[in-house]
């Protein structure tokens, strides 16, 4: 542990900037309502489609709503979708993956088959199918996007459990009379947290992206909700004359994606020696 911290000076600049961006986003999402900003839902047609000014730092949208307030309010929805979907995927995928990896045989076979079927859908098609059934709404969106991450988490935890199952410390725990669930919880789970975190950070980025895509297509959250993707969709008809309506949410989304991807890639390179070898 000490060694890791001593090397902290070697953390690349891009990684530091990304961590700052993610922290700021997280803080804004948590404490956004406390900021001295106009109401993100308050309409004022007299002030519609204004360029950035001292009153409205990022300008206003087609209904005169303050864009900065909406971006801040949107951070909450986007992060909620990202983390929510990953939690759904982990909560379902992790236990199934561990059980399949731990017990193997028939259970593993059925499990791998179900995973194959889930993966037979391109990600967005599955999410679209769910949203088509449930209709728009933030909870439905989280579920739809989360379902897509289940097989990803299940596969990782299965593979990691499989490789740990025969290790000496697991054998030792078994010899000491630990029950299977105790072995899985106390001995295997702590050892697969690392890989899971890498997957989680990359999947959060993907989940935010898919959530925003569905909202952009008009089938995610309801249109008045200030989610970044749905803001882009709402600004689209006006973008030729008022490009700031799409530039503001689009750039925010891209910066957030970049930060999450850089952190995910860094963690992967750091914790997976094969990736370092391949990187050269």
């Amino acid at each position: 542990m000490d060694k890791t911290w001593n090397r902290s000076s070697k953390i690349p600049l891009s990684m530091r900037i990304s961590l700052v961006i993610i922290t700021v986003l997280g803080l804004v999402a948590l404490f956004g309502p406390l900021l001295p900003l106009p109401d993100p839902y308050a309409q004022n047609i007299m002030k519609a489609l204004k360029l950035p000014s001292t009153d409205h730092w990022l300008g206003t949208d087609q209904l005169g709503r303050d864009l900065l307030s909406r971006i801040v309010a949107g951070s909450r929805f986007s992060l909620l979708i990202g983390f929510g979907a990953v939690l759904v995927g982990m909560a379902i995928g992790l236990p199934f993956g561990m059980l399949a990896g731990f017990y193997g045989r028939g259970l593993d076979r059925i499990f791998s088959w179900v995973i194959d079927i889930l993966l037979a859908f391109p990600g967005i098609i599955l999410a679209l199918a769910i949203v088509a059934v449930t209709g728009p709404g933030i909870g439905n969106l989280i579920f739809a996007v989360g379902l897509r991450t289940i097989p990803v988490f299940a596969r990782v935890s299965r593979a990691e459990t499989l490789s740990l199952r025969q290790r000496d410390f697991v054998e030792a725990a078994r010899a000491l009379g630990c029950r299977p669930y105790e072995i899985m919880y106390w001995h295997i789970l702590p050892n697969i947290v690392g890989p899971l975190m890498i997957v989680a950070s990359l999947q959060t980025a993907t989940a935010i992206l898919i959530g925003a895509t569905l909202s952009f297509l008009g089938v995610g959250v309801s249109p008045e909700v200030p989610e970044w993707g749905s803001m882009l969709n709402a600004g689209r008809p006006y973008m030729m004359r008022h490009p700031h309506l799409v530039l503001v949410p689009g750039c925010t989304l891209m910066i957030a994606m970049m930060a999450l991807n850089i952190v995910g890639d860094y963690l992967r390179d750091r914790l997976d020696p094969r990736a370092i070898a391949a990187r050269g």
Binding site: W113, V131, A132, V133, T213, L217, V246, M254
Partner: protein
């Protein structure tokens, strides 16, 4: 050998597709709202509704309904659209070529440019080509397809009117949508080609080839690329999923008359026979793309066939 492998894979595919069709069938039945009411309109009397329900077979148990649907499915009948009253099959069939055109063009661009960029970067790691490739691929992975699409519309369709931003038919119409679709995959394929080629470069047989005094171009083309390209080609299959996502979004932005736009329209109108047919179509295409990639993979790499 390859034939045997292919047949085995196709046989494995059949039960998966059956389960898939059943899951989609039941899932779509869960869509809230009475489909009969949607067809007949709000003015219909209860008697008319009941009659229609019997005519459509919706009064029967779900397993029987599925049986009827499956029977039609095997004959290639996907039902009738609630919105246009056209057979779903002809609706899909009419739009499929546009989507295939867009997806194929996008895939070609990302493979051609991605592999060339990756090779260039791997040959001189650390120079400006490599550095800018890294930046471009990070941008490509991080910017959502719909965002790049909107930027392209804004830049090329409005400020510099170089290409049409809506519709299809000519090569000029294809430029913007296909480029947008290719970008995410392009970024990924570039990174992968670079990594894979660097790994091959460090292997003994390449050192042997160098020691023999072979010209560098020959080493790269004849010795290294053959092994290094396996990874990007397999991933091209997986990338197809991402490509499909892109295609759906891009068809919506550029008013491209393909099955992606059809799906979004169908979801907004709750046109369930079309949704059902399209999801099956997408899954089928996806399965066959994966299958063909695996077969190509087996042809390229004899080690896989022997297993």
């Amino acid at each position: 050998m390859v034939l045997q492998y292919t047949t085995k894979r196709i046989i494995y595919l059949i039960p998966t597709l059956f389960i898939l069709s059943f899951v989609v069938f039941t899932l779509v039945r869960l869509i809230p709202g009475d489909p009969v009411l949607a067809i007949a309109g709000p003015d219909a009397t209860p008697e008319v509704l009941e009659e229609m329900r019997i005519a459509l077979g919706l009064d029967r148990p779900i397993l029987i309904q599925y049986g009827v649907y499956l029977k039609g499915l095997l004959k290639g009948d996907l039902g009738t659209s609630l919105r246009t009253h056209q057979p779903v099959r002809s609706e899909i069939w009419r739009r499929l070529p546009s989507t295939v055109e867009l997806a194929a063009a996008g895939m070609m661009i990302s493979l051609l440019i991605g592999i060339s960029l990756g090779v260039t970067a791997a040959l001189r790691p650390g120079n400006w080509v490599d550095a800018s490739t890294r930046l471009v691929s990070l941008l490509g992975v991080s910017s959502p397809t719909f965002w790049t699409g909107l930027l392209f519309v804004l830049a090329f369709g409005y400020y510099w009117r170089l290409f049409p931003i809506a519709g299809s038919g000519t090569i000029r119409h294809l430029v913007l949508p296909a480029t947008t679709v290719s970008l995410t995959s392009l970024a990924f394929i570039t990174r992968l080609t670079r990594a894979s080629l660097m790994e091959v470069f460090s292997q003994d047989y390449i050192r042997t080839a160098r020691a023999k005094g072979l010209p560098p171009a020959r080493i790269v083309i004849h010795h290294a690329l053959q092994n290094a390209l396996i990874a990007p080609l397999t991933v091209a299959g997986l990338e197809f999923g991402r490509l499909v996502t892109g295609v759906i979004v891009i068809e919506t932005i550029f008013a491209w008359p393909g099955i992606g736009k059809l799906l979004i329209d169908a979801i907004q109108f709750r046109d369930w026979p079309v949704i059902q047919g399209l999801i099956l179509t997408f899954a089928l295409i996806f399965a066959f793309v994966n299958l063909s990639v695996d077969v190509i993979y087996a042809v390229l790499d004899p080690r896989i066939r022997l297993e």
